[in-house]
Symmetry: C6
């Protein structure tokens, strides 16, 4: 099977990126849906998530719960790492992918499908560095993506080969609001959502000083 | 014991398909029932489901919760993989089987019993590819099924032997609404349910671009 | 100690049957009681139930919740496999025994004590085949039972020795309503309960086509 | 330390009996207390209970919940196997001891302290046979008890040595109501409690036919 | 670091005693705090408690729930074994220490800081014997304590060396109300609390006959 | 990557300190956010916390619940140890860091970013000693911090090398209120918060006698 990148926008579906083994990347879509709950709202994530990936989803949920203006206590948030197989998903580098998919599903706003992204998140919306950025960008380019979002703190790590250089635009970001500004469909609606997101995490945006420690989490 | 395929329709009972070992398939019925709950609605699945099968049921539950127009918080959803024995069930290829059985039970609408099906599902209703399609189709044909639903993304994988070719019609689908359109009893009621299902997952149906990665889950 | 079979009827107590080792059966009583709940109704089963037996109880609970016309959310359902010791109980062949004991306790209607039974259940009330039928019937006969209920799908498996042939009547059934019709005390009350049970699982009774796969669960 | 048996009555404290190793018994007091609950009534049992002992407490709770005429959903039931140390408690032979301690605590009625008891219980109040009866009776006699309650089904197992024969009266019982009739303080109050207990488990008392299988649980 | 014993009284802080290895004792403070709850009142104990220590806290909670005249269902009870490190806490000999710390925190009444204590508890308030009494008393004396509370049943076990004999007063007790009478600050308030505690556990105080079995739990 | 210390203040972000291996320290930021809850308020801590770190968060939660004047039962408290990787976090020495981050997030008051801190906490607000103080101070100095908060009980353990002596001010504290007084932004608001915190833990501040035992927890 070949994973085809489509043009256009899709609600609740975002192209994530992961590292496989030592030196190759893979595109890994994340899908989200918001539903009524049976017995108290919860976040349900599938795709054989290992411990760090589970915690990544918990961190993202902090931003979602602050962002949501619906009564989130009567909703279940479903997050699906699509067809990851038995080996599952580890690490926290899909945090911005998950956040974007859930906000897209919550608001019914499409996400650009020729875009891929990688980035960890703080509970206050800061985009934190990840590992394997170069391999991930190349995987996105091979799959046909035209743009890739990476953490600003990883900008100096990018060493992609010449053949991919003109195929793909690299977009460094430092806050989840910048991710949504790039990824979502519709200028007016996007600006409104970005403003709302900046507002709830406002004080965290004033100086840009948040940075990770010297050992970024792999993948 | 011989598993006999019957004509006609049955509420809450769907013929699923699984792979056994390397090169043989088996028909595996899934049954569903909706009941009052004792202490907060839940999804209860039996048949010794292993991890990926449990997650498959969670993904299906997203669609069920969106679809249901009854107060799902006061209902338990029982899903039974019938007589799977100690070895149990793994993988996510029964996702469309489970979804069909539960919707049949919720609505009291019969499911065609000379039909078998295999397919994974996204939380937004996309039918995703699975493994072992050829062996599964042959198992359905041997059991007397006249039609088999498979994921559209698996269409090129079908290499059934000549003897089965005229026995069984293969129906590729890309969304759960197509599965119901084929499986359920009664033209008018089915059309109404399909429309409702399309409506709740509407934006996901516009371009058909969702596809799985290169490594489909086995079984 | 000798397990004596009594004449007459008892509320909430049913003679089940199990296989021990390779080639002998044992009579295993199941008792049930319905009580007020402390903190949200639940099903509590004791007797060191292993995984398949736990799931069997969950399947039975689907039928009980549909059947009950009391507010089951304020009740606990206690199920006790009596004196099974450290080795406990496995398999799903006591499903009809458990269902009968609980319905007897719920309704306060006696169960025939010279009757024993074995059979698996679907969540919609179909009686499914089990293993070891011959050894179980002989165990029931030895214990003094005059009648034994078995799944219709197991009818051809019965090969009991001559000495037991005239001691015990074998009653094949295909739906839980038939079990109750045989087991419960009082013609009028039983007919009313059977009608209610048929009504809640109605569509499942029309063609009798439900059958298990070729590998029935042992015990 | 020497465990002294006192005359008189104590609320919420009952002398149980256990087997240690192969051939000696020990007296093991059980204490109970009923308290307001913090977050939904529950049964809390301490003393390092192993699996069968935990299940024994669950079986006893069925009788307690039926018996209680207070709103048990706002109460916690504390059961303490006193000073059992790291090795803890196994088996179900303290069932009648636990039931008696809890009912004493619920009703504020004293339990005779020169009495010891051993016996398993069904969820409907039948006293079921246990192992080690002879060693247990001797342990009770050595500790100064004047009376010992045992299951009627164990009556033929009693083979105590001559020296204890005149020290201790053996009282066989077949239902929990008989245990309370012997153990509780005050003729009038006891008769009223026994009547209430018989009433809630009425149909189970009519023929005395309940008996355990041939392999009683040890201890 | 040296653990200094202070004069005066402290709310929610009690000097406990533990045995380390074979032949030395250590003073181990327990602290308690009562707070609003987030989601249904619970008891939260920290300090790497092992199984018997966890159960000890559950037994103590029975007394606390009976004692509390505030709505305990909206409160969390925090219990902290201070700086016990990775090895944590085992055994039930801190039961009276925990009970005293929690009641002090609940009532806002100070606990004497030149006092240490050791003792197990029944759910009805009886102080039960513990191991290592002599080593514990010596540890308390070394740390500067002037008084040590021990279980009355351990009185004959005390064999402290001459050098400590005049430094420390030994106070044997048989009920938790006696512990509070010795430990709490303020004659009038203490008498009122002791009376309340005696009242809720009244019948248990009439004859003093409760005693543990011959094998007291170590530590 | 280099962790840059910024001037100024940040809401919900505090520089913690940890020991790595035998003889080096590391700065480890902790972030916090308060959000609406989906199904009953809870404390959610990420960063692969091991047992002692989990318990440390529970102890801190006691102070937070007492401090909060909002309805904490409808809030989730998110705590994130940022990018700690697979090895995670152990020990309780980040207790004051976590408490400060959460109170900052609850009140929307900034925390000084050129400040780092280490210290354990009692449930009543006492700052308790930790291990590795010297290595932690040097790590903070290297990262550019100008001030480091340590427990008063660790004051005599500080043996930093000459080169760091003039770079960093060491601030010993004995209660969480002193930590906030140093760390928070804005004189008036800080004084008000400190007063509120002193008030809820008032009696614990009168004599300063609380001290840990001789074996402080490492890290
Ligand atoms: Ca834009
Ligand atoms: Ca910032
Ligand atoms: Ca159709
Ligand atoms: Ca689509
Ligand atoms: Ca009949
Ligand atoms: Ca049928
Ligand atoms: Ca009497
Ligand atoms: Ca009977
Ligand atoms: Ca006094
Ligand atoms: Ca007493
Ligand atoms: Ca200040
Ligand atoms: Ca103090």
């Amino acid at each position: 099977y070949e994973l085809q990148v489509s043009d256009g926008y899709e609600v609740g579906r975002v192209n994530g990126l992961a590292v496989m083994g030592e030196d190759s990347g893979i595109m890994l879509p994340v899908m989200a849906e918001i539903t009524p709950t049976q017995s108290g709202g919860q976040v349900i994530a599938t795709g054989q998530l290992q411990e760090m990936a589970e915690e990544s989803v918990q961190n993202v949920s902090a931003i979602i719960k602050k962002f949501s203006d619906e009564n989130i206590s009567e909703k279940d948030i479903h997050i699906q790492f699509v067809q990851t197989g038995q080996q599952g998903v580890d690490g926290d580098s899909a945090s911005i992918t998950v956040a974007t998919a859930v906000i897209s599903a919550l608001e019914g706003v499409g996400v650009s499908q020729d875009l891929a992204m990688t980035g960890s998140l703080s509970v206050r919306g800061d985009v934190l560095p990840v590992g394997g950025v170069t391999h991930k960008i190349e995987a996105a380019a091979k799959a046909g993506c035209k743009r890739v979002i990476i953490p600003q703190a990883n900008e100096q790590d990018v060493m992609i080969e010449d053949e991919y250089e003109d195929m793909v635009e690299i977009i460094p970001v430092s806050h989840i609001s910048e991710v949504l500004d790039v990824a979502l469909e519709g200028e007016a609606e996007t600006d409104s959502l970005v403003a709302r997101l900046k507002n709830i995490t406002g004080s965290a945006l004033q100086d840009g000083s948040v940075a990770g420690p010297s050992s970024p989490s792999p993948q």
